[in-house]
C-alpha cells in the first residue's frame, strides 16, 4: 500500500514580483492523500501549480496582482484532504474556514510527486536524496496571449518519485517554477496524518 510523506519546496519566479518560495508537504496513505501548503496560498494558486498550461503556476498578470504578489507575506497553512475513491475533497484555509471541493484537481496536486510515463529516454543521470535519479526533458507548448509558448520541463525521477521538476521558458523569458523534494519518508504515514484535526 502506498505510504509516503514528501516535503517540497516550490519556487515561482515572475518578475518583477519577487520570487515566491512555498514549503509544501504531501502525505499518501493508500488512496488517500493530504496536501499542506506552508505559505497559506489560496486554493486557486495551489491547484494552478498543476493546471496552468505554461507550467509556471498561477502567476500575476494584472498590475493589482503584481502589487499583491509584491506585498504578500505567509498567511499560515492551507490543508487539503482527499481520497481517490471519492469525488469530494476538503479544504481548510488558514482562517480555519473549511469547505468541500472537487477532488480531481486536488488529486493532481497531491500526485505531482509521482512520475508520469515518459515517451523519451532520460537525458542525464544524477543523485538526489541518496537515490539514483534520471533526468527527463520534455516541453509544454501552446498559445498564450496570442503568441506561442514553449516551456522546457526538466524532471528528475528516482524510484517512481519526481524529486525535482523545473519549468523554464524555452524561449528565454524570465518566468519559472521549480519544485524540489527536500525530504522523502516512506512507511511513516499514519491514519492520524490523514485525519483532519
Amino acid at each position: 500500500m502506498r505510504n509516503v510523506r514528501l516535503d517540497l519546496l516550490v519556487t515561482r519566479t515572475a518578475p518583477p514580483a519577487p520570487a515566491l518560495s512555498t514549503p509544501m508537504t504531501i502525505w499518501w496513505l493508500g488512496e488517500r492523500y493530504r496536501v499542506r501548503d506552508g505559505y497559506g496560498r489560496g486554493y486557486a494558486e495551489i491547484v494552478g501549480d498543476v493546471t496552468e498550461p505554461r507550467g509556471f503556476g498561477l502567476v500575476p498578470r494584472t498590475i493589482g496582482e503584481f502589487m499583491d504578489a509584491t506585498a504578500s507575506t505567509p498567511r499560515g497553512e492551507t490543508d487539503l484532504w482527499g481520497d481517490l475513491a471519492s469525488p469530494d475533497a476538503m479544504v481548510r484555509e488558514p482562517s480555519g474556514r473549511e469547505w468541500e471541493a472537487d477532488s480531481v484537481d486536488i488529486a493532481r496536486v497531491a500526485g505531482q510527486v509521482f512520475a508520469p510515463r515518459f515517451s523519451t529516454a532520460p537525458t542525464a543521470r544524477d543523485s538526489r536524496l541518496g537515490r539514483d535519479a534520471w533526468e527527463y526533458r520534455s516541453f509544454l507548448e501552446g498559445r498564450d496571449n496570442g503568441v506561442k509558448f514553449r516551456s522546457l520541463v526538466r524532471t528528475l525521477v528516482a524510484d517512481g518519485y519526481v524529486l525535482m521538476r523545473e519549468v523554464t521558458d524555452a524561449r528565454g523569458g524570465p518566468m519559472s517554477r521549480l519544485m524540489e523534494v527536500t525530504e522523502l519518508d516512506e512507511g511513516s504515514v499514519t491514519e492520524g496524518d490523514l485525519r483532519p484535526s
Binding site: A14, M67, V104, G111
Partner: protein, 410 residues
Amino acid sequence: MRLRATAPTHRPAARGGPEESSLDAASALQSRIGNRAFGDLVARNPVPTVQRWIFIAGTQVGRRDARLDATTRPLARDRKVRDYVDDAEMNAHASGTTDYLGHLPGPTSRNTWVRFSPTGVNLLGENHTQVTLEQVAPAVGSTNFTYEPFSRDVVGGATATAMDTETSGRMTRMGVGGGNQRDHGGESVFPKLAYNMEALTPYFSGASPVSELRRRNGYFGQPAQRYLKVTWAHAKDVALEVAMLQATAQAVPPAKQALATVVANHRAALEPYITGLAVDGWLGDTLDTRRNRALLPALLDLANAFMPVMIARAGADPGLSSAQQTALGGMPTGTHAERGAMFSAWRNMHFEQALTDAVANGVRYQGMGMAHLAHLQSQGLPGGTHPFDMTAADIQGFERATARLRRIAR
C-alpha cells in the same frame, strides 16, 4: 517500499459537460422544422417543451408543469441548469427583473449557475484571470457595480482621458460603455501608477532586460504599458498645474516642480512614443528596439521624478479620510519594500472607502482581487454585505451545485 513509476489514477472529471441523454420527440421536431416554426408550435401548444434543467425548491420542474408559460418556457429549452427558490423567482428571472442569478459565460466555469444575494452589496473576491466581475455582472444582468480596474479618483485633464482610453473596452463589455468611469470605480489608480514606475525603474536603468517586458516573455509588459501611458498623462497635468501656479505667483511644491522639469526636458522624445502606444499592448514589444532603447534614460528620469509626487499624494489623497491620509503619510518610504507596503496600504484604504460608498449608495456588486476582499473581511464587513470568494470556496460551491443538479436531472 518502492512504487511503480506511474502517476496515480483517479476518477475522470465529474464536472464535464451536461449528461447528454437522447433527445425527446420535441427536440427532434425542433431540429427538423427550425426554431421559429417550433416556437410558433409551442406558442399554440405548451406541451412539447424540451426541458430537464429547471429546479424549483430543489425539485425538477416537469415538462408539462403548468407553471411554465410563454415567458419561462424558453428558459427550459437550452439545457442549462437553473435553480430557483420558488415560482416567483423563476418568473422574475425569466422576465429579466432579477440581478443576482445567471450563468457564467466562461471560459472559466462556463454555464455554472450562480446565485448572489438579492439584497445588499455582493462583494466578489476574484483572481483577475479566472471568474471575474466582468463575467458575472453581464451574467446576472447588473450594471450597478464598482470594480477594481476602474478608478474612483476625481481627476480631469489628460489623466482622465488616458484612463478612459485604457478602460473603455472593459466598460463597454460590462454594459456601461460611454459612462463615467468614476461611477464604477473600485479603487484609486494612483497606487498602481506609483507601483508601476517603481517596478519599471530597473528596466529603465538597465538593471533588468527590457526584453522581459515583451509579450512572449511574460505578463508584466501589458499593465506596465497601460499605466505608463496614464503616468505620462498625469505628469503632463502636473506640469500644467505647475505652470498655472507659477503664473499666479503661488508656491510650487518641489516634487511637482521637478516632475514638470522632466516633462519639459523630455516631452519631445517621450510624447510621440508614449501616446503612440496601443491599448493593451506590451511595453517591451516597442521599447526593446535599438531606436527606442535610447528613450530609457528619459523614462528613468520620469520614474525618479514621479515617485515623490505619488508619495506626497498618498499623504493628502482627497479620496481618503484625514485619518487615512495621516496614516499613509507616516509610513516609511525609504526602501523598495517600504514603498511597496505603503502602496499596498494605500490601495486597501481605497477599497475600504469604496465599500463605505457602495453601502451608502446601494451598489449591488463590488469586485476586487481576493486579497483585498480578505483585507476588508479582516477589518469587519458592514451589515448588508455578502462576501463571495470567486477563487475558491464559493465558485467551487456554485460549480458543484450545478453539477449535482445536472446529474439528477431526468
